[in-house]
Symmetry: C2
Subunit: 117 residues, 2 copies
Amino acid sequence: MKPRSYACGLDAAIDVIGGRWKALILWALHHGPMRTGELRRSVSGISEKMLIQVLREMEADEIVHREVFHEVPPRVEYSLTSLGVRLNEALLPLGDWGEENMRAIARRRGVEPAPRH
Amino acid sequence: MKPRSYACGLDAAIDVIGGRWKALILWALHHGPMRTGELRRSVSGISEKMLIQVLREMEADEIVHREVFHEVPPRVEYSLTSLGVRLNEALLPLGDWGEENMRAIARRRGVEPAPRH
DNA sequence: CAGGATCCTTACCAAAAGGTGAGTACCTGA
DNA sequence: TCAGGTACTCACCTTTTGGTAAGGATCCTG
């Protein structure tokens, strides 16, 4: 449901990172450039279709850079743009908050908490 | 689409603040406790039904405190819990990021940028 | 009585997000 | 030919989120 007008910066940012998979993909790319298959294996539970769909959206939002290498088998590499890097930095406090309150959040929603790391 | 298991803190946090209205409501409550009608007027575009629905979810997540005053006309006040206050703090950098990149985000999505403030 | 204030719930529907399965392309090796 | 590798697209469907409209409750005032 697209707002006609953003109310504030946070409203816009949530639009960019919202959905089930984007934050996880952003985080996976934090470690460095990755290929489609690597991302697929790294982000548990995502289908190839959803992965590619979401990566295309993130590319359109200019937080992810997609680089095609003309070789066989096909090789496409995704990496964070500088905008994406700054976004990831801005997400750190939120990730910390989630980590601190993981067990309570998970319990209330009937979800397994994340393994510790 | 509820994940079976959270992958990390950020995954859990996004689950708590995701959707069209939660971030805006969180922000509105940042200024202090508010009644239903005040919130309705403050969050542009939200219907009464959605407002109440989302407030109930946030209450269940324990980021919002709902206090019923037994008077007429009915008076119900919503305020941030300490958990909610910490969440709002964690959202500040993300809001800043969104503010800095507002025009580009809005342009790409065909949305009006937020008025400056 | 009607209308006002406040807050909330229900029925039903629309829109968006996400998912499965099948197919496509390139190539190599058995 | 088949199987394997890589990355991607389309058709169709399911699930989730959000929306409209109508109704309900309390009391007070004209």
